[in-house]
């Protein structure tokens, strides 16, 4: 059976400390997140922020893809020729969609690095990214609810979770997670979820017109000041403040411009237009 492509925010995926290694050639491996996503395959959409060939010799492209909660590491080498060639030529920043396999690397006990090995990478538009955030948020919320239910059971039962209407793979993953993790902080993920969705908050809509003006002014400021190395964050805020823009609004505008991929951070604290 084909493994489903889980929608898991980077903030949850990167928290994974447990993986199940396929015992045999045909049995699948899984990364199990603290909320019980049992990920063999995942689908994500985010902002491609940088790509680097990390191989000693030959090709192994490492890409970082950012979502509202964190950053995925995506590795494509000679066995993923299409993904590797896409990444090697991709513009940063840009919106990309990735379907791929969950990978885990455990250099020592208690340390687990998770990444994604792409099966498909494709440039997409902002609407597709926003749609993904909604999907990922819905499914994260379902995991949060399932986990909250499971933590109230003694012992957590796959069968009872299924009776409550949770899909079988989720019921299985949630029970596996309760066994693998000592303290599962459901509240932490509720917070993370709200963060991810703040992008859509109605407050933002009220302020949208102001925002458009602010973005325009801030973008112009960055363009004016960037030079070769980029403009300092603080300088941009000062500059825009002198033009009568609220500091808070300027910072929001900068974040938004970065989200949209109009502005990026080549080194920490410095910004350039794309």
């Amino acid at each position: 059976m084909r493994e489903p492509a889980w929608r898991v925010f980077a903030g949850e995926y990167n928290d994974a400390m447990h993986h199940i290694e396929g015992e045999e050639q045909m049995s699948p491996s899984y990364v199990v997140t603290p909320l019980g996503a049992m990920v063999n395959r995942l689908y994500l959409v985010g902002v491609l922020t940088d790509v680097e060939n990390v191989a000693q010799d030959g090709e192994m492209w490492r890409a970082h893809i950012s979502d509202p909660t964190g950053i995925y590491a995506v590795y494509a080498g000679e066995y993923q020729p299409e993904a590797a060639s896409f990444l090697s030529e991709a513009d940063t920043p840009s919106y990309v969609a990735v379907a791929g396999k969950a990978r885990a690397y455990e250099p020592e006990d208690g340390v687990l690095f998770v990444s994604v090995r792409p099966e498909m990478v494709r440039e997409v538009d902002e609407a597709m990214r926003d749609y993904w955030i909604i999907e990922a948020a819905r499914q994260t919320r379902q995991r949060i609810e399932a986990m909250a239910e499971a933590l109230g059971m003694n012992p957590p039962s796959e069968y009872k979770l299924r009776e409550l209407g949770y899909p079988p793979a989720l019921a299985r993953g949630v029970v596996a997670a309760t066994e693998a993790y000592d303290d599962i902080d459901v509240e932490h993920y509720r917070f993370l979820l709200r963060e991810a969705l703040s992008h859509f908050s109605s407050g933002r809509i009220d302020y949208e017109e102001d925002m458009d003006d602010a973005e325009e002014a801030v973008f112009a400021a960055v363009q004016e000041m960037e030079g070769d190395d980029g403009a300092l964050w603080d300088d941009i805020v000062d500059h825009a403040a002198k033009q009568g823009l609220d500091r808070h609004l300027v910072e929001e505008a900068l974040t938004s411009l970065m989200d949209k991929g109009a502005v990026y951070e080549p080194i920490l604290g410095k910004l350039k237009t794309t």
Partner: protein, 427 residues
């Protein structure tokens, strides 16, 4: 695969005289299997290692109603309600197993026979040394090569337990004694010969608000198209890759004085995991994101003899032939809980892409065949779609033969704000 190991572990524990820990047996078994020892030999080796004489005779007699998951060395007598052969892959080898339903006066349970005992519907068999696993919360009987199966001349009055009510969308092969309400969407009559006897078989589509299913009736129950009925005591089997509802003389059908508008039947979008779990269905609506366009999408050539897609101008059956051109898309649609392969034929593809096959042929001539594939990817990859069609399953998964496909244009801002508002209510 893990299911096979679990089954093997259970079998070994079942056959052992001494209590052995599951972990110990599993660890030993896996070690043998890792070394490439076939599962059957590995089981024997582990049994030997634990010092068992494989045939432990002291089974406990039980009525099926008393069987609980985990029971070992079971002895019972039961009547086969239904049985069907399935091919499964074990260690790269195809093997036949036999799945069905068996019952006695107290209960009806699903079973799996791991070898061919020549079982047929209505056989009454005495079973010695079986064991019970769990499936969907109820016991599933396992009949292994260490089980002794004898046919008897007894007859058994099957239990008349309270039938369990299901929505059509939840009907999956292996369920028995189900009760379901729905509308007879279509009906055909057919003469068939069963055991030299002429019988009339009625079949068609039955649907409720959650979905549609193919049914067969082995008797004239006075049904006609458009009836809304309550069927009790039916069972579900797998037929040509999709679930099929069967009612025979043990079932009752009641006409309901209810109307069910046709456009309300099967209109609810099904989560993918449910489609995968039930193994297909009739006219199933699903939604998901296209995460892959499979090879063999775009312009293809078909064999004029057998209609198979050609590879490099060659048909696997008819050799080198002059192909006839066709257009299709094979897309993997995934909603995060499961995935199906959606197959779109020429007319569905032309409509979706708003481009005729001839226009694609021109495009291919100018820019090469990859241009067509690229155009399809640009249109579909990462896009959410609503797909409707018949779904069928095989060992690789579920395929939907697409009747209609529509891109979904969600109101993202609104959905996001609503979700956020709901979250505020969560805590």
């Amino acid at each position: 695969m893990t299911e096979d190991i679990d089954a093997a572990v259970d079998e070994v524990i079942n056959a052992l005289d001494e209590e052995a820990s599951k972990e110990e047996v599993e660890e030993n078994l896996k070690k043998f299997i890792e070394y490439g020892v076939p599962v059957d030999q590995a089981k024997q080796a582990v049994l030997k290692k634990f010092g068992a004489s494989p045939a432990a005779p002291s089974a406990t007699e039980k009525k099926l109603g008393d069987v609980t998951p985990g029971d070992k060395r079971l002895r019972f007598t039961g009547k086969i309600v239904t049985v069907e052969q399935r091919e499964v892959e074990v260690k790269g080898e195809t093997r036949s197993i036999y799945k069905g339903i068996i019952g006695d006066e107290t209960a009806v349970l699903p079973f799996t026979a791991w070898k061919d005992f020549g079982l047929a519907k209505d056989d009454v068999i005495a079973v010695d040394n079986a064991y019970a696993g769990e499936w969907g919360g109820q016991p599933r009987l396992n009949i292994s090569e260490w089980t002794n199966v004898q046919k008897t001349d007894e007859d058994i009055d099957l239990v008349k337990r309270q039938p369990q009510r299901y929505d059509v969308a939840d009907l999956r092969p292996g369920l028995s004694n189900v009760s379901v309400q729905g509308k007879i969407m279509s009906m055909e009559e057919r003469e068939v010969t069963v055991d030299d006897e002429e019988k009339t078989l009625y079949s068609g589509i039955l649907g409720d608000r959650t979905g549609k299913i193919r049914y067969t009736v082995w008797a004239d129950m006075g049904l006609s198209e458009g009836d809304v009925v309550d069927v009790s005591g039916a069972y579900v089997k797998s037929w040509q890759g999709t679930p099929q509802l069967v009612f025979d003389e043990n079932a009752t059908v009641e006409q309901l004085d209810e109307s069910m508008p046709v456009d309300q039947v099967g209109s609810r979008t099904m989560p993918m995991y449910k489609v995968v779990e039930t193994g297909g269905g009739v006219d199933v609506p699903v939604e998901g994101v296209v995460i892959e366009i499979q090879r063999g999408s775009g312009l293809i050539m078909r064999c004029p003899e057998c209609n198979r897609a050609l590879r490099d101008g060659v048909c696997v059956i008819d050799g080198e032939v002059d192909g006839t051109p066709d257009l299709r898309i094979k897309a993997v649609v995934d909603d995060g809980t499961g995935a199906v392969t959606a197959i779109m034929n020429r007319s569905v593809t032309e409509k979706l892409m708003d481009t005729t096959m001839e226009a694609f042929q021109e495009m291919a001539e100018e820019k090469g065949g990859e241009a067509v594939e690229q155009a399809i990817m640009d249109r579909l990859i990462a896009h959410p779609v609503h797909v409707r069609g018949n779904a069928l399953s095989d060992e690789y998964g579920v395929t939907v033969i697409v009747d209609t496909v529509e891109p979904i244009e969600p109101n993202i801002q609104q959905q996001g704000a609503e979700l956020l508002a709901e979250l505020e209510g969560d805590t």
